[in-house]
Symmetry: C2
């Protein structure tokens, strides 16, 4: 009986059970999008690549705070950067996640 239930769950796995890795990836992804500062940074990067200083000044944030959040986003491969001299230009690096963000913003703005 209990054996059957377990078996049944295995068969239903596709559309119901979440394995640990999926759970981790999904929660991390949404965690990245759950902080107002990171949302503002990602939303700003929608307009193209920007340096750390540019991001900090435009969004009225400290350089350190922006750098910390960019590291967070870079670890999740949501942003990437290229160097030009001492300046690092950051830009989006995950279309899927940016799409989720845009959907949520759109939905929030149109109630």
């Amino acid at each position: 009986m209990s054996g059957e239930q377990v078996q049944e769950k295995v068969f239903n796995e596709k559309d119901q059970h979440l394995d640990e890795e999926t759970l981790f990836v999904v929660s991390q992804t949404f965690k990245a999008l759950s902080d107002p500062t990171r949302i503002r940074i990602l939303n700003f990067l929608c307009t193209g690549e920007h340096s750390v200083t540019d991001i900090a000044e435009t969004l009225n944030l400290s350089q350190s705070s922006v750098s910390h959040q960019l590291r967070f986003l870079k670890n999740l491969r949501l942003v990437k950067f290229r160097r030009e001299g001492t300046t690092l230009y950051y830009s989006e690096d995950d279309d899927h996640v940016m799409n989720l963000l845009k959907q949520a913003i759109d939905h929030a703005e149109h109630h």
Copy 2:
């Protein structure tokens, strides 16, 4: 000069600037989806309505923990419930957010 910049931002608002309320709503929405327990609960509710006890047993969580998280989700109107005797049956109440969750799960599962 500084006046022009401000003005320019007002005109670009549609596709770039996020007002505080939008920022708050978006971050709250993603915060709801950023916790593994809440993800599991919402994902389970994809299969239909379930009582608190059912959710707790199926997902191997304490009754209290489930109840707390359901209150969180109910405050954001992501779930609703109906009563039948002493039993409360919870179910999804926000198609848009459930859709965001499904997209993220789908994407994570298919790498």
